[in-house]
């Protein structure tokens, strides 16, 4: 069955450092991958989408890579700030192309 794994449940870093979150998937080849941010008590909010023919996508301090050979995406936040503290979710379109399947998320804590 299709499986998505976000390797770390929690990641703690210091302000100003780069946070790197990992998303691995098995048993399918998604056409695209998305990253979401979720704050406590709120629904996820879309951050970035990267397609299978794109190696890298950037948006301000965010960078996403997509390696279809390794079946892995890396999500980077450069110059991290305490306001970046949240849970980050990786999502892939399912094999049927009809719904997003989410990883369990990584909770990032940025300390000042």
């Amino acid at each position: 069955s299709q499986k998505i794994e976000q390797n770390s449940e929690a990641l703690n870093i210091q302000e100003g450092k780069t946070a790197t979150l990992t998303c691995n998937y098995t048993n399918y080849s998604p056409a695209y991958l998305q990253w979401y941010r979720q704050d406590p008590g709120r629904g996820p909010v879309f951050l970035l989408l990267i397609r299978e023919n794109e190696k890298e996508k950037r948006k301000e301090r965010l960078k996403v890579t997509f390696d279809t050979t390794l079946k892995q995406s890396l999500f980077h936040i450069t110059a991290s700030q305490p306001a970046d503290s949240a849970t980050y979710l990786c999502a892939l379109i399912n094999q049927a192309g009809t719904a997003l399947i989410f990883g369990k998320g990584t909770t990032l804590s940025v300390s000042s």
């Binding site: 056409a31 629904g43 989408l49 397609r51 399947i101 989410f102």
Partner: protein, 114 residues
């Protein structure tokens, strides 16, 4: 913010009672989804809809049913609530696009079954 509203936001119900959660959108998006979110499990897809009266099951559909009689409304029903259905439920919407579009989420409904 995308126009998506979930109701109720909080509900406490007794085991064995039926419960209906409502998701309403004003974006005219084709796809609508119901997820549940539990500690240690993340977001799991319950059911989704790809049009009026067109629905399909997700990975955790047992004990749940859905209906979509209008584009803007997607209802999730627990026919006979159990304690294992205590969770936070999120509705999401997205447009149809084979190249991939973002999903917009509602604020969530916290359901407690006692």
């Amino acid at each position: 913010d995308a126009g998506i509203t979930q109701s109720p936001r909080h509900k406490v119900t007794e085991t064995g009672t039926p419960v209906t959660l409502r998701c309403h959108q004003t974006e005219n998006h084709r796809y609508m989804y119901w997820y549940r979110q539990d500690p240690g499990h993340g977001l799991r897809l319950i059911h989704y809809s790809y049009g009026v009266k067109d629905t399909d099951k997700g990975e955790v559909s047992d004990g749940y049913s859905v209906s979509r009689s209008k584009t803007e409304d997607f209802l999730l029903t627990l026919e006979s609530a159990t304690s294992s259905q205590t969770s936070v439920y999120f509705c999401a919407i997205s447009e149809e696009d084979s190249q991939g579009t973002e999903a917009f989420f509602g604020q969530g409904t916290r359901l407690t079954v006692v």
